[in-house]
């Protein structure tokens, strides 16, 4: 049972959603946009959050859209992870979200909910960072569309009253060779110890991580080092560890040492994929 009461509404348009959000806030209620609800319900149940109103985005048609337009794949913020994976519109993203939680939960968890969640993993963001995705954010002053990297700094930086209306992925990234690996401490279905997503574009590796640090990230400095064929594989791996944006996380889920070991192992695998791709390219 959730021990607090909150108001609930289900708008039919993005504008109605913002109006409802503002209306509740004006009435003094702490308001949350509501996607699949899995994090809001589980956190409210244990008292970690105490929402006073929620605005459910799932029945806004634009938030559930999945279509190709103008060289982009447009995905609504309230699309379920399962719908994205089943559509195969962006295989790397499908692979990454297909490893979040389990099949049944994937039918509920939304893209926007995963990107804006408070847990440290937010694994759906990795392929989006690699693919130079853009986001359309709906807020009190309308819609702004901008590169995800500008508003994702470890977590989504939204203005008050804003929500993710759509995510736009340039279509060309959807067909590039990719590599994804997620290692959890014990079970297959669990939060990651380390999760890695990579795209190989014209013989260069783009790489992003979740789990290793306390937030997901893509590091262009690390990519430079990993793509530097003037260094041995070992030197590149050492450089990658040096270039982590913070020390590997160390918590009850997984120790720092084990995370670092997995990280080195997984980056090594990614480098092997890169050299296979280069050989295939050279042979073609």
């Amino acid at each position: 049972m959730i021990p607090v009461n909150f108001a609930y509404c289900r708008p039919g348009t993005p504008e109605e959603a913002v109006q409802a959000y503002e209306g509740y806030e004006k009435a003094g209620k702490k308001t949350w946009y509501y996607g699949g609800g899995s994090e809001i319900i589980s956190m409210a149940r244990v008292g970690s959050i105490t929402p006073e109103a929620v605005v459910d985005l799932k029945e806004i048609p634009a938030c559930c859209e999945l279509k190709e337009e103008g060289g982009h794949i447009n995905m609504g913020g309230a699309l379920s992870l399962r719908a994205i994976a089943d559509s195969q519109c962006f295989p790397l993203l499908g692979k990454a979200v297909g490893r979040i939680a389990d099949h049944t939960n994937q039918c509920r968890i939304t893209l926007g909910g995963n990107l804006c969640g408070t847990i440290i993993y937010r694994e759906a963001v990795l392929p989006l960072l690699l693919a130079e995705a853009q986001v359309s954010l709906q807020g009190p002053s309308g819609v702004r569309r901008l590169p995800l990297q500008e508003v994702f700094d470890g977590r989504m930086q939204l203005l008050p009253g804003e929500f993710i209306l759509k995510v736009h992925v340039p279509k060309r990234y959807a067909s590039m060779p990719y590599f994804h690996v997620k290692k959890a401490p014990t079970e297959k279905i669990d939060y990651p110890a380390v999760s890695l997503a990579a795209i190989i574009e014209k013989g260069r590796l783009r790489i992003a991580f979740a789990g290793i640090c306390t937030y997901p990230f893509r590091s262009k400095e690390m990519e430079e080092a990993l793509n530097d064929t003037g260094m041995t594989i070992e030197q590149r791996l050492n450089k990658a560890v040096e270039l982590l944006p913070e020390e590997p996380a160390d918590d009850a889920h997984c120790s720092r040492g084990y995370r670092q070991l997995l990280f080195e192992n997984m980056v090594g695998q990614a480098l092997m994929e890169l050299s296979k791709a280069s050989e295939a390219g050279a042979g073609a």
């Binding site: 909150f6 609930y8 939960n105 509920r108």
Partner: protein, 198 residues
């Protein structure tokens, strides 16, 4: 726009093919409302955290963990619980030869602890044993039975949504549910029976 701003509100849920009016708080989860207000105790509370799958029901044909759904979210959607297996629209499509029988005609003990729901206003035909239930009985796919209704719901949705599911898809659907008695192999076998592959 649908709005529930009061502390308590009356909502109408479509459960197992029947319209049911119920008074809820907007913060009530579907699992509690099904069990406590509607007497449909087939969906079981386990972790109440999305991990175990004991509370799984079907929403518009897809499995959901009812501990992570608000009752008000279900307004306007079709809910099916284990009690509704066999109700109109609640039959599992099956390629199994022992599918869709009436009670007594399948081998083994049909009492899995989840019941087929006859007699509590849930819409199911009395005595009907759904193919997914028959397959579970045939494969002895339960021990204590606590997880069974959740597994039945997932398997029912799988048969209807993906009758030609590949091995990896079956694995991934079943991984959503935990069985503390470790009946996993038997559940897997039941799926093969249900899909007419065994």
């Amino acid at each position: 726009m649908m709005e529930y701003n009061e502390e308590r509100c009356v909502i109408e849920l479509q459960v197992n093919g029947l319209a049911r009016q119920v008074m809820v708080r907007p913060a009530d989860i579907l699992l509690d409302v099904l069990r406590q207000e509607l007497g449909l105790t087939g969906a079981k509370p386990g972790c109440k955290n999305g991990d175990c799958g004991a509370c799984t029901v079907i929403m518009d044909g897809w499995p959901v963990k009812s501990c992570l759904v608000l009752a008000v979210e279900a307004v306007g959607h079709q809910i099916m619980t284990v009690e509704g297996l066999g109700a109109s629209g609640g039959k599992t499509s099956s390629k199994s030869s022992s599918a869709g029988t009436s009670a007594g005609s399948s081998s083994g003990n049909a009492d899995s602890g989840t019941g087929n729901g006859s007699g509590n206003g849930n819409g199911a035909d009395s005595g009907y044993i759904d193919p997914v239930q028959a397959a579970f009985v045939q494969a002895n796919a339960f021990q204590c039975g606590y997880c069974t209704s959740g597994f039945l719901m997932v398997c029912h949705a799988l048969a209807n949504q993906k009758p030609d599911a590949e091995e990896y898809e079956i694995e991934s659907w079943l991984e959503s549910n935990l069985c503390r008695c470790t009946s996993y192999q038997e559940v897997r076998q039941a799926v093969d029976i249900m899909l007419g592959r065994s």
